[in-house]
């Protein structure tokens, strides 16, 4: 086929309406339920969140402090050793404004989600790797994300009240700018 340029390629495509009226069309919804354990390192991390603390775990060989914590160092293949409590503060590595849900429905009120680079020992300034979390931002306007003002902004976690915490990532309601 000279470059696939001349020949009509195989395949038949359907309009949405045609698809929904196909003979033999089968609709199927998988039913699968899981219980995930968080594992050695993350269980302790989630307990820490319940207490309003962000915990990392240090590699005794290279000194990296992992957040989220790992039981082992990915680079040294050594077991991580001591737990380190971080101040929880950090800066916004990147942030975006989402107008759609997980299932691509339009959302009434946009959400701002971000990667937070946490203040943690064991990393070189401006290095490729860092301790960080994926979370939401609040008290920041979409315009701050678009203008770039939000990037590099100093932030801290806004904790849910202790009685509402469940030991999951949503014990942090969001990260918000540190008043200066």
């Amino acid at each position: 086929m000279s470059g696939g340029a001349e020949r009509r390629l195989p395949g038949h495509y359907l309009k949405a309406r045609e698809m929904y009226s196909l003979p033999g069309l089968v609709e199927y919804r998988p039913v699968a339920r899981y219980l995930f354990s968080a594992g050695q390192a993350q269980s302790r991390f989630l307990d820490g969140l319940k207490e309003g603390r962000i915990l990392g775990k240090r590699c005794p060989r290279c000194g990296r402090v992992y957040v989220p914590p790992r039981s082992y160092c990915e680079y040294c293949m050594a077991p991580t050793s001591d737990w380190v409590e971080l101040p929880g503060t950090g800066e916004v590595h990147t942030a975006v404004v989402s107008y759609i849900s997980t299932f691509r429905e339009r959302m009434e009120k946009p959400e701002i989600v971000a990667v937070i680079k946490l203040d943690a020992p064991g990393y070189t300034e401006g290095g490729y790797e860092f301790a960080g979390l994926f979370h939401k931002l609040c008290n920041i306007e979409p315009e701050d994300v678009m203008s770039g003002r939000a990037i590099g902004m100093r932030v801290k976690p806004r904790w849910r009240p202790p009685e509402e915490r469940k030991g999951d990532v949503n014990d942090i309601e969001c990260f918000e700018p540190i008043e200066s």
């Binding site: 086929m1 000279s2 470059g3 696939g4 340029a5 001349e6 020949r7 009509r8 390629l9 195989p10 395949g11 038949h12 495509y13 359907l14 309009k15 949405a16 045609e18 698809m19 196909l22 199927y28 995930f36 968080a38 594992g39 993350q42 992992y66 957040v67 989220p68 990915e74 590595h93 990147t94 975006v96 404004v97 989402s98 107008y99 759609i100 849900s101 997980t102 299932f103 691509r104 989600v113 971000a114 990667v115 937070i116 290095g127 490729y128 790797e129 860092f130 301790a131 960080g132 979390l133 994926f134 979370h135 979409p142 994300v145 678009m146 770039g148 990037i151 999951d168 990532v169 949503n170």
Partner: protein, 392 residues
């Protein structure tokens, strides 16, 4: 290929086949695989009897909706009663398929390999986006209700910040690739559009608009790879696999600098070393970087060292990456223009290099003389890089 790696045989691509790329194909996944596989065999003048081994690629099972998807596709891909494997690295799978086919032949295990990739994204309804919900970490990410477009947007925003690139600079990739695809017979999203069209399309997750993204697609693509002896019997113009590279970073994508894909650079270095390439920005004549989103093409051009970090938007604006430019990228039209049936899209990119390097790309043939091309794919949670260098 440099003698820095020991192989039993050089390996060549000798045939390629494609189906249409469209949303909602009537054909089943295995029928699509069969269409592409039989076209690839026919283009090489071979039949299934001539094939020793089969490599299959398909991205998460959840798209086709069939577990054991490799096994399910095996008969359509010509894989029954012969050594058959399925390889998988998410979106990086497409280029991983010919890489795996390469080591089957280079090792001396097989003389000929049929390499087939297939994806049907449209069965997941009302929108396949929901299927991506199951790739996230169940403990740390799923409780936040993430959407796959979030992480692309986060990466794009970081790239914009780090490089001072504006949305309109990045939209030019979509404009270029959709126009390039006008000459492609499989194309689903070929169009003449403007930067304004991209900026005015629906905002999904700022900074990502609908026209910054490749479409939802079904389709299949296949290649035939052969040892040197076989290749020289099959064709006068084999296209040699000169280098392959692949690397994986961890799934903790929020623990790394998102403005530069280091793992892609590592994969590229591996492939260039094998190919004896020291200055890829001068020695590569045509490139098919992975472009599921428009910024990704720029990101990957830099990861492939075809431009310095943050230099790609400027070169793009100068026309450097146009079909008649100094280093044409995605002359096929890429995923943005031809479509994105995930694994099949990567194989489509390698097929494009095959046609370009044989001067068979018709209306899509790049203007400059071509000796060497690189194709690349990327995937999983922003962590996988797969790279292949071809030469004529």
């Amino acid at each position: 290929m440099r003698p820095n790696i020991h192989v039993k045989s050089k390996v060549a691509v000798v045939g390629a086949g494609l189906t249409l790329f469209r949303r909602r194909m009537l054909e089943t996944p295995r029928e699509l695989a069969w269409e592409a596989a039989s076209m690839a065999l026919e283009s090489a003048g071979l039949t299934l009897k001539d094939i020793d081994c089969v490599v299959i690629g398909t991205a998460p099972d959840a798209f086709d909706g069939v577990h054991l998807n490799g096994e399910y596709l095996a008969d359509g891909a010509g894989g029954i009663n012969r050594p058959t494997v399925r390889v998988y690295v998410g979106g990086g799978t497409g280029v991983f398929v010919p890489i795996a086919a390469w080591w089957h032949v280079a090792s001396g295990l097989c003389r000929t390999v049929l390499a087939v990739a297939e994806e049907k994204m449209s069965p997941g309804h009302p929108h396949p986006q929901g299927v991506f919900a199951y790739i996230w970490d169940p403990v740390l990410e799923r409780p936040l209700g993430p959407n796959l477009i979030w992480i692309f947007a986060l990466e794009m925003r970081r790239y914009m910040h780090k490089c001072g690139a504006r949305k309109e600079d990045i939209a030019l990739v979509s404009v270029k690739n959709k126009a390039n695809a006008l000459g492609h017979p499989a194309a689903q999203a070929a169009a003449r559009i403007t930067v304004e069209d991209v900026l005015n399309s629906e905002v999904l997750v700022w900074p990502v608009n609908r026209l910054d993204i490749s479409p939802v697609s079904d389709g299949a693509a296949a290649l035939v790879l052969a040892s040197e002896n076989e290749a020289r019997r099959i064709t006068d113009s084999p296209v040699w696999v000169e280098g392959v590279g692949f690397t994986l970073d961890n799934t903790h994508w929020y623990n790394r600098e998102l403005g530069y894909p280091r793992y892609v650079q590592y994969a590229a270095r591996m492939a260039y070393k094998m190919a004896g390439i020291e200055r890829p920005w001068r020695e590569i004549d045509v490139a098919e970087p992975y472009d599921p989103f428009d910024y990704k093409e720029l990101h990957h051009i830099e990861g492939l060292m075809l431009a310095r970090p943050c230099e790609a938007p400027k070169l793009l604006k100068e026309g450097h990456f146009n079909r008649d430019g100094d280093l044409p990228t995605s002359p096929s039209g890429g995923l943005l223009g031809v479509g994105n049936p995930i694994a099949a899209a990567g194989v489509m990119k390698v097929a494009e290099l095959f046609w370009q390097l044989r001067y068979e790309a018709g209306a899509r043939q790049v203007k400059k003389p071509v000796h060497r091309g690189v194709a690349q794919a990327w995937g999983d949670l922003m962590q996988a890089g797969t790279v292949i260098v071809l030469g004529n």
